[in-house]
Amino acid sequence: MKERTPKNIFIQGAISSAFIADSIQKHSTKTDIGGHSIFLGQVRADEIEGKKVVAIEYTAYEEMALQKMHEIREAVFAEYPLTCMHVYHSLGKVAAGEICLFVFTSSAHRKAATEACNVLVERIKAELPVWGAEILEDETHQWKVNQ
């Protein structure tokens, strides 16, 4: 298998739809791909004790997160016959309604792409040292808890 070095997955602020579209477009030259699977995490305007979440501010232990993501990437590549895998996570402030996580897998046949995409999302949420502070409309905040 090809050696892969840790890639930076972090993007400052929201992940734009133009970036996502461009990322899809780039795969048109890879004609061995038959299916893509994309997960987009969006900041939800939850209501907490009557106050709306207006944004989430993400911080991370970046070096450790990138190393961990590298391990996850290698493990998922070893388990599924994927052509491509791309993962991007926001850092800093992302407003409600904006995209904060972009996971994109591609394979010759759909099953590998969809299953690998699901596994990646679950592992990213459980294993990457990333934290989200939910900023409320009165400018107070509370710490996000993953379900």
């Binding site: 949420k125 459980a126 993953n146």
Partner: protein, 75 residues
């Protein structure tokens, strides 16, 4: 030795990073930090030494980086 705090623990401790002199072990380090920052004793966290999450006690050297990490909430 460098000690890092993340997420809500930054607020509990009032710093992202502390530096202490000399060697120690995880038990001694956590109990002295719990004395200094009583709210840390009530917080949920895991400890990573040089980016590896540990669950047992171990000796710490000057060059180690110890991270206190609350439950992850990315995505």
């Amino acid at each position: 030795m460098k000690i890092l705090f993340f997420g809500q623990l930054v607020e509990v401790v009032g710093a992202k990073e502390l530096s202490i002199e000399g060697g120690t072990d995880i038990h001694a380090l956590t109990s002295s930090l719990h004395q200094l920052f009583p709210l840390l004793a009530q917080a949920k966290y895991v400890i990573a030494v040089d980016q590896e999450i540990i669950s047992d006690n171990r000796n710490l050297q000057e060059h180690n980086i110890v991270a206190f990490m609350p439950p992850f909430s990315g995505g």
